[in-house]
């Protein structure tokens, strides 16, 4: 374990009766990083967070905080405050009393409590609501109260369990920047559980992708986006086109014998192995005639088009019925015939393809 490690999970397993929520976790959380744990519901991400908070006990393995095992420590002695999905603000206390709660539980005196709460009310820009009831606040204001309530004890680590899921899209984006700035300024380690790729990728320094109780990949958003380690990750991110087949040795290098045809591979691979080639939909191109040279090209028909802001996604289908997506700006698409059923070629440079295991 290196010196900048704050938390380590060592062979952590969690089962509920016969159900295995977390299979075997081995990973570390660095001091001062913004770590997002992402996955679909039931993947074990929330269980992982709750074990760190001390709300669930691991069935096996050790969780260390600053090097010390914390398995037997009850949640109230851990200093691992959590921001809840429901926020769980105390409805019978006003904003100030909510923020002071953790200090009161620690026996901090009245004047000191007030002073420290004041700082966080100010920092979260909710001073003017200090005497209000929780029911009188908007969704965004409640978020800020929840953050202030957790951060008032100035912990080393803050746990966040999908805290933005109840907000509308615009407010969500605003709160993301509030969270990111807060994390950068305080240097507090944030562990953020979400099912949303955009939240995880826009805020986190590193992302953990979980599926069925195991970690599929840990890395920076760029690493995961550009080089997904498994087929699951590529599939889950949904931004790549996937082609499966057997690797074989070709005339100039390695090739993949896929359903859509023979595809060139830019990097060496094990001959005879079944593998999946992933190509980001932003790295695929369209043309009306078969492109020449050493690129991979697949004949397709247009089946649809979708616009999101400045980009358009063209949906195409191969003769074998496989769907391929191409993402381009509107400018790049002008001049191309895109009527439904229009025959076109999808092509990409072999260097833009990335081979992943079947895992």
């Amino acid at each position: 374990m290196s010196r900048d490690t704050l938390v380590s999970f060592e062979g952590v397993v969690k089962t509920f009766g016969g159900f295995v929520a977390v299979k075997k976790l081995d990973f570390e959380i660095k001091k001062g990083e913004f770590l997002a744990i992402m996955g679909s519901s039931g993947c074990g991400k929330t269980t992982t967070l709750r074990m760190l908070a001390g709300l669930e006990a691991p069935t096996e393995g050790v969780i260390r905080l600053s090097g010390k095992p914390i398995n037997d420590l009850p949640t109230w002695s851990r200093d691992t405050p959590m921001v809840w999905q429901s926020l769980a603000l105390f409805p019978f206390l006003n904003v100030r009393e909510n923020v002071e709660f953790a200090l009161k539980m620690r026996g901090v005196g009245k004047a000191e409590r007030r002073r420290r709460a004041e700082q966080w009310l100010d920092r979260m820009q909710i001073t003017e609501f200090a005497e209000r009831n929780i029911s009188q606040l908007s969704g965004g204001q409640r978020q800020r109260v929840a953050l202030a309530r957790s951060l008032v004890v100035e912990p080393e680590i803050l746990l966040l369990d999908e805290p933005l899921s109840a907000l509308d899209a615009a407010l969500k984006v605003r709160m993301q920047s509030v969270l990111k700035n807060l994390q950068r300024e305080t240097g507090i380690t944030f562990v953020y559980v979400t099912h949303s790729q955009s939240e995880a990728f826009s805020m986190a320094d590193r992302v953990v992708i979980m599926s069925r109780g195991v970690i599929e990949q840990i890395g920076t958003p760029q690493e995961i986006y550009r080089t997904p380690r498994t087929r699951f990750v590529a599939d889950f991110l949904g931004s790549s086109n996937l082609f499966s087949g057997k690797v074989r040795s070709g005339t100039v290098g390695f090739e993949l014998d896929a359903a859509v045809g023979t595809l060139r591979l830019a990097s060496p691979a094990t001959v005879g192995e079944t593998a999946t080639l992933t190509v980001l939909d932003t790295k695929t191109h369209l043309s009306t005639t078969a492109p020449a040279g050493s690129v991979n090209a697949v004949p397709v028909k247009v089946i649809g088009e979708e616009f999101v802001g400045a980009t358009a996604t063209v949906y195409l289908e191969t003769a074998q019925g496989q769907e391929i997506r191409v993402q381009k700006s509107h400018d790049e698409l002008t001049g191309l015939p895109l009527g439904i059923g229009q025959p076109l070629y999808v092509w990409w440079n072999p260097e833009d393809g990335h081979l992943v295991g079947e895992g």
Binding site: L55, W76, F90, P91, M105, S135, A166
Partner: protein, 273 residues
């Protein structure tokens, strides 16, 4: 009913419903109203036309030491029953809220059972049981018996309140540094406060009104309802009406207080959006 026109409603049906509701209330409250009216009537027997307005019966009641003794017993028993059954009910409701255990359905069924037993049977059983352990015929026996009857009401009221609580609230308190006892004191009890006071008033009211069980076990420490029966057996006196009015107003005050607490702003789950 608002004054504005609503094309989706049939006015004839609306009026029929109003008449129906008024009639139902008249039917329910007429006897109580009659008792109230006759308590101020100077005549010895309840008859129409009424005699003169008079406070004689109240005066007679107020100077009767037997009535005062009954009232004292009723209040003493009622307050202690209220406190004990609310405490017991809270414990039972929290146990149901917090813990999962084998036989929980049986636990719940038993906890809520007493009010479904006919009071005559319950009174008889209480008398037989309490006299065997030398506890019958005093105020304590009435208190014990009434707690048995009242605690399930308190439990039902507090359980409803707990079911409206965000399940993350208590773990959130722990997570912020509160031990289990501190979370109980600073989160669970404050959240349940309206229901706790509501349960306190309701159980007091139930104890004030309860006659059958008290009749069996009270012995010489008769509560007011038992005293009233005693009066009735001796003679029909308009004093009954005066006592009835007094008990009715006291009970209604408690029930209305409880209603205000349980349906007031504070009782709403505040985190709903």
């Amino acid at each position: 009913m608002s004054g504005s026109f609503d094309m989706n409603r049939n006015r004839a049906v609306d009026w029929a419903l109003v008449v129906y509701v008024v009639l139902a209330y008249v039917f329910v409250f007429a006897p109580i109203a009659a008792s109230f009216v006759f308590s101020f009537n100077s005549d010895r027997f309840p008859s129409i036309p009424l005699g003169e307005f008079s406070l004689d019966w109240y005066r007679a009641v107020a100077t009767d030491p037997l009535v005062w003794e009954g009232a004292r017993n009723t209040l003493f028993v009622g307050v202690i029953v209220g406190i004990c059954s609310t405490a017991l009910g809270f414990g039972a409701a929290y146990t149901d809220y917090r813990y999962k255990f084998a036989g929980k359905q049986v636990y719940l069924a038993l906890a809520l059972l007493p009010p479904t037993i006919p009071v005559i049977i319950l009174g008889l059983a209480m008398l037989a049981y309490l006299s065997r352990i030398n506890l019958s015929g005093n105020a304590l026996s009435v208190i014990i018996s009434h707690v048995v009857v009242c605690a399930p009401f308190a439990m039902a009221i507090i359980r409803l309140r707990l079911s409206q609580m965000d399940p993350a609230l208590e773990p959130a308190a722990w997570n912020l540094g509160a031990s289990e006892w501190m979370a109980m004191r600073h989160v669970i009890v404050p959240f349940c406060a309206p229901a706790i006071f509501g349960a306190l008033f309701i159980t007091m009211a139930v104890s004030f009104d309860e006659f059958a069980v008290a009749w069996f076990v009270s012995g010489l420490n008769e509560t007011l309802p038992v005293k009233v029966l005693g009066f009735l057996q001796g003679q029909v006196s308009p004093r009954i009406n005066a006592i009835g009015t007094f008990v009715f107003i006291l009970s209604m005050t408690l029930v209305i207080l409880a209603q205000l607490l349980l349906s007031g702003r504070g009782a709403k789950p505040a985190d709903q959006e």
